[in-house]
Symmetry: C2
Subunit: 275 residues, 2 copies
């Protein structure tokens, strides 16, 4: 990792199973406008959250190798599923690179927010099955933990059904059982902030909703400061790589990022990793 | 293609983006119990229906090449998305193999069923965007065609939410506008028969629901008869290959197939197609 240099010399590699991880890019850009970001969205194989641990680890390893080929200085795993299932493996496989996941910052933010020490976690099937948030929370002394997989939230968000009767009914279906037991709820998937108004309506004002992406951006910022990376004027570059350009990607870019990347390129990971 | 031989010497290759295509295998087994079936479910990259035409064609080509390596005699594309988008390409790329898609048999069944010549088609985003059913229907003289993409139906079916308040509300959301204009509705996705009770409730008894898988099985059976393939006693083998073994695959197998395959193996298509 570089030290004592201008922020404009730093490049952060960010990956996600799809386009949802751009919510993390948005927070990084707000916090560290001057760094360059290389984003890989594995849109050809999205979602990861319904797949097996073995397959998620293979995909996350290929994603990280791709970003390292692009000469990034550090890696941000902007996908809760990959952070939950593959982070330990990635840190072993790519020892020379600082790798940040999205689970730990979210957990710390939730512990800071809770007053009753009763915390809820929602995420994909794979994230919840891994109990990654639960393990972190328990290590920090929290024992009242309520976990719930919400597999319909991603397709709802991607279809733009973020408010109204359908998402409300689905949110009630998932959250009715846990909402009265918690005062803090971790949104353990980058898609869920899109549904925040509906989730808030269902769980009520007394439950604090935790979006881990700002805590993750703050953690990366602290790390760069510790390496004496200096802020500079102007925005860095944002290069976007996608394994598929889906028909509705432009509206999704707008939904999750809200500004235009400098470059967009389609890549085929299997060609890169083969031979 | 072999001719004048016993059915037990024939092997049919079937592929789908996931496990939904096993509804087609079920119909093939009922119609042609003695043939062997090699099934490939691309569960690592499922779904196809939200992805681009270019990516769907690449995936379908890899799936077909895998089945041909397994020495099948003919190919059945049990995925409406791949049938809609990639069939022409597959027939050019694999000229020596009879390749059957699921779109044409469904369309013919619908034309046989309709009395008002007003037909609805529901499917994934990619299937509907391809207008594959519409083009076939128009070629057969049908002009009152109502198409609707229903992207939430697949995640609902996979979560086992086939009946009740949520699937009913979602079905109303998609079908309210078209239900009064049609007397026949093509279920243009192998997952949709799982939701058939709910769809029937929403569109009403007067609309006939068309599940193309039985028409497809009948077409394959006619083809084998034309090649003088002889029925024999006993069941053929069913070999199941999946690119991922998802956490909940056993309940899905039960839901879509209802009997046990002879073998189940996990395969990595990118390793097979590389180098």
């Amino acid at each position: 990792m570089k030290e004592n240099t201008a922020g404009s010399n730093i490049s952060i590699g960010v990956f996600d199973s799809g386009i949802g991880g751009l919510t993390v890019v948005k927070k990084l850009r707000e916090k560290l406008p001057y760094v360059n970001i290389v984003y890989l969205g594995d849109t050809a194989r999205v979602p990861y959250g319904t797949k097996s641990e073995e397959t998620i680890i293979r995909f996350a390893t290929e994603d990280t190798a791709f970003l390292i080929e692009k000469e990034v200085d550090l890696i941000v795993v902007a996908c809760n599923t990959a952070s939950s299932v593959a982070l330990t493996h990635l840190r072993k496989a790519f020892k020379d690179y600082p790798i940040f996941g999205v689970v730990e910052p979210g957990v710390k933010m939730a512990i800071h927010a809770t007053q009753s020490n009763s915390i809820g976690v929602i995420g994909t099937i794979a994230t919840i099955k891994s109990h990654s948030h639960k393990k972190f929370l328990e290590r920090e002394g929290i024992t009242n933990i309520f976990e719930k997989a919400c597999p319909l939230f991603v397709p709802l968000a991607e279809e733009g059904l973020s408010e109204g009767e359908i998402p409300e009914l689905v949110a009630r279906h998932y959250l009715e059982d846990i909402k009265d037991h918690i005062d803090t709820l971790i949104l353990g998937c980058t898609h869920y902030p899109i549904l925040i108004k509906t989730i808030k309506k269902v769980v009520g004002e007394k439950v604090k909703l935790i979006d881990p992406s700002s805590a993750l951006a703050a953690k990366v910022s602290d790390f760069l400061m510790s390496k004496n990376i200096q802020p500079v004027e102007g925005n860095g570059k944002l290069d976007l790589y996608l394994t598929d350009i889906p028909p509705h990607y432009h509206s999704l870019l707008n939904l999750f990022l809200g500004f235009e990347p400098d470059t967009i390129e389609k890549v085929n990971l299997s060609e890169i990793s083969s031979c």
